[in-house]
């Protein structure tokens, strides 16, 4: 493979590539992101390869294993192109039928299609499915067409043309100007204007400057960056190089969590391939611009997602944040100017350079331009990754794309912004996503995690959950976070265990003030947010836990008891069989009773009791009725009386 030495070379290579690819050739695109792997896509891939060989179709049919498609609830997913036939939840056993029916005989297999839950209509084409149709996938869309281990796939879609334009047709100041004009703001949670950050580094004194990709995505429930880095690593590399050119940096770092092995693998492959093609290294595309990238793995610390802690970790130390009175854009890694941006932010850059800032600013709202990728998870029908232009409302995301709440349950709250964010109740669903509206309401958009909570979720427990997470992840350097957050956790745990007392809420509010005002870094300063937002909108739940020792959502283990309603139990025995602690007493034709001493509150009986009986119930805030005497437990079957 000869090096690509100029933009002209690049275009020649690209047209050659495209001429060798027949757009009408049948290809099976199989989603091979981490989530689909967990659902078995590796086995499906093996089955497809085997079947294609066996049927002698090797020349006519290609298998392309792509990155995440985003509709994770329904994986493994395949899309057969060029017809765009979309099949979901594929198992290896389905493969022979797919090859013989759909590939060879062009017949659709109905049972593998998407069915609209409301109209029951079956939809064949990927782009017609509401989950995809209602999104605006500027950044994420290419995932479905690229094999991340193939640089050629990226080039075929026009990849690296933005880099060529920047390096060979624009001066660094022009690149900086275009990004500034686009109003691109950081996608990692901070929302800082990207152009301004780049300008600060560009103007800072020093010859050696760094550009860094923050791929230490730590918010639990958020995996947008992972899917971008796994599925389209070149888009991030290209953005990084354009940024480096703009600020005058020759060295880049990608800091990626070691918990993302596939992302680490794919980004290393991408770097190697780019180097082979001459798109990375010395005098890229003959421009005289040199650039190298080093990959650093994280070692399991959420705090390293904070920019100054990440830079300390890059220096080979424990990831303790530093005060940012002097911006890291001026004094960062080794006290040198360092531009750190999130994966998604970098991935937006090639688009802005290729299509221009004016094109970019037509998407989004006045202060929040462009799109944002969200991970829509929790109690939602269509779990997955969703990209929408900013300004779309929470309601549209949850219902039009997410498909609403499953199981006929009621939505209680939306949690956004991870451990730094907050919970918003149902009344706030018409808020627009963006950098400002959610923050004004007491939450924040954050890096894009969007967790849907329903009526069965205890909001006090949600606050406790996040504080537990942060107590574990705190670096421990400053008092407000190390001590203050831990005391908040203790108090909240007591409340969820029925040990809350008067004055607890005031104590929590005071500790929240200390953390918010006095903590060293953003982890500590934003730690009280989940507590403060749940207190604001769900104060009644706190008071019920403290004053009545009652959990309104029937969730906190110490405050609930499982009780089988004797009026409804029909003695089917399912709960007795499934109980892992042998805590149910019963027999044939006998009303079953839970032995409260043995019950571990695992909830199995509640889940397995057939819904037509609905006899297993949860009680909170009142004593469990004593078990009815043994003699009264025989069930009289009404149907037997004639």
């Amino acid at each position: 493979m000869s090096r690509i030495n100029s933009p002209a070379d690049l275009e020649a290579f690209r047209s050659n590539l495209l001429s060798e690819r027949d757009p009408n050739k049948t290809s099976i695109t199989l989603c091979s992101g981490s989530a689909c792997h967990a659902s078995g896509s590796r086995e499906v891939a093996a089955a497809i390869q085997a079947e294609i060989e066996q049927q002698g179709l090797g020349d006519e049919v290609a298998l392309r294993r792509t990155g995440c498609h985003g509709f994770c609830e329904r994986g493994p997913i395949i899309v057969i192109r060029p017809e765009e036939i979309c099949y979901f939840q594929i198992k290896p056993e389905d493969v022979p039928e797919i090859i013989s029916q759909t590939i060879k005989e062009k017949k659709i297999i109905e049972r593998l299609l998407y069915t609209d839950p409301a109209t029951k209509e079956k939809i064949v084409h990927e782009s017609a499915i509401p989950f995809y149709k209602n999104q605006g996938r500027l950044v994420f869309g290419s995932n479905v067409e690229i094999d991340p281990k193939s640089i050629d796939d990226y080039l075929a879609l026009g990849g690296y043309s933005a880099l060529a334009k920047a390096l060979c047709q624009m001066a660094p100041e022009q690149v900086l100007e275009e990004v500034t004009k686009s109003n691109l703001r950081g996608r990692g949670g901070g929302g800082f204007p990207t152009g301004r950050k780049w300008a600060e580094s560009r103007n800072a004194p020093g010859d050696i400057k760094y550009v860094i990709v923050n791929a230490d995505e730590g918010d639990p429930g958020a995996y947008m960056d992972r899917s971008l880095l796994e599925g389209n690593p070149h888009s991030v590399l290209e953005g990084l190089m354009i940024g480096a050119y703009a600020i005058g940096s020759r060295q880049g770092y990608i800091y990626v969590r070691q918990e993302y092995p596939l992302a680490v693998e794919n980004v290393n492959i991408a770097i190697r391939q780019a180097e082979e093609y001459g798109l990375l290294g010395k005098s890229i595309l003959g421009s005289g611009f040199d650039f190298t990238i080093d990959v650093h793995q994280g070692a399991g610390a959420f705090v390293c997602g904070e920019s100054s802690a990440l830079m300390t970790a890059l220096e080979g130390k424990a990831g303790e944040p530093r005060p940012k009175y002097i911006h890291t854009a001026v004094k960062g890694v080794w006290d040198r100017p360092s531009v750190l941006n999130n994966v998604e932010t970098w991935a937006n850059v090639p688009l802005i350079i290729n299509k221009g800032a004016d094109w970019f600013t037509q998407y989004g709202t006045e202060k929040s331009k462009g799109t944002k990728i969200f991970s829509l998870v929790g109690k939602i029908a269509n779990t997955g990754l969703v990209e929408v232009p900013m300004g779309v409302t929470l309601r549209e995301i949850i219902y039009d794309i997410g498909g609403g709440i499953p199981g006929g349950k009621r939505l209680k709250a939306v949690q956004t912004g991870g451990p730094s964010g907050g919970c918003l109740p149902e009344e706030m669903l018409d808020l627009e996503v963006g950098f400002d509206e959610l923050t004004k309401a007491g939450s924040m958009m954050g890096s894009g995690g969007m967790i849907i909570l329903d009526e069965d979720t205890c909001m006090v427990d949600v606050a406790r959950y996040f504080l537990n997470f942060l107590t574990d992840e705190s670096c421990g350097k400053c008092v407000p976070c190390r001590e203050g957050i831990r005391q908040m956790l203790k108090t909240l745990t007591n409340i969820t265990q029925g040990k809350g007392k008067e004055g607890d809420i005031e104590l929590l509010e005071q500790l929240a003030e200390v953390a918010r005002e006095a903590a060293l870094c953003a982890l500590g300063r934003s730690a009280p947010n989940p507590f403060l937002s749940t207190l604001k909108y769900f104060r009644d739940e706190y008071e019920a836990h403290i004053k009545e020792k009652r959990c309104p959502a029937l969730s906190c283990k110490e405050l609930i008891s499982y009780y089988i309603d004797p009026a409804k139990c029909q003695g089917c025995g399912t709960c007795l069989r499934k109980c892992p602690s042998e805590a149910i007493v019963g027999g044939k034709n006998k009303i079953h009773v839970v032995d409260q001493e043995k019950c571990t509150k695992c909830g199995t009986c509640f889940e397995v009791c057939p819904s037509r009986f609905a006899a297993a119930t949860k009680i909170s805030g009142e004593p469990v009725p004593p078990p009815i005497p043994e003699e009264a437990r025989t069930i009289v079957r009404k149907s037997k009386e004639k």
Partner: protein, 204 residues
């Protein structure tokens, strides 16, 4: 280097470029409480007691004065209801670890901190970091360091280094505001003594 003029508690203070707000305040005789600060060591910014309020053209924020660089026309307030409230809670959180720590008693009285507000904690280290930083920056022996993170953070001696260096040094002992450092050292010595003690005997 020209003088930088700033205002602290309504008083005009002249400072040199490169100074921190804490240094500027002290030079003007204004006292700000500190715990993890030491003239021989790099400022650490961990105890947060030296918090002051900055007024930057109407926008107020709290910063730690031991690290914040002086700037022209800065308006600094060292005491206020909010600052006092925060300092009081910080002291109470520390007193839960070390209720009898000498350095905390006067401060506790001044700010009305209640040593019994929080349940007593088992570890009496308050993580001022003075021992670790002194051994690293001044002695350059690295005999004691931090272990673990978050609430589980502790200080720990490296037995092999401590057995060589600490017996004749112990310069960090008077820096410790609590008994934690001495306790950690004695423990390390006791655990290591069986093997290292015999080595030392053999060397004599």
């Amino acid at each position: 280097m020209s003088d930088i003029l700033l205002q602290i508690d309504g008083k005009e203070v002249k400072a040199k470029e490169g100074m921190t707000v804490l240094e500027a305040a002290r030079s003007a005789g204004i006292s700000i409480p500190t715990l993890c600060h030491h003239e021989k060591l790099e400022p650490y910014g961990a105890c947060r007691l030296c918090l002051v309020e900055l007024d930057m053209r109407g926008w107020k924020k709290l910063v730690v004065s031991c690290l914040y660089p002086v700037a022209k026309d800065l308006v600094v307030t060292t005491r206020s209801e909010k600052i006092d409230r925060i300092r009081k809670t910080i002291l109470e959180l520390l007193l839960a670890h070390a209720p009898d720590a000498f350095d905390l008693q006067d401060l506790a009285k001044e700010y009305g901190a209640d040593r019994d507000r929080f349940e007593k904690e088992s570890s009496f280290c308050i993580h001022c970091g003075l021992c670790v930083r002194y051994c690293a920056e001044v002695k350059k022996k690295y005999a004691v360091g931090f272990v673990n993170r978050g609430a589980n953070r502790e200080i720990g001696f490296i037995p092999e280094v401590a057995s060589k260096e600490c017996w004749n040094c112990k310069e960090c002992f008077p820096l410790c505001p609590t008994e934690a450092l001495q306790a950690a050292y004695v423990l390390t010595e006791a655990l290591a003594s069986s093997s290292l003690f015999s080595e030392r005997e053999a060397e004599k």
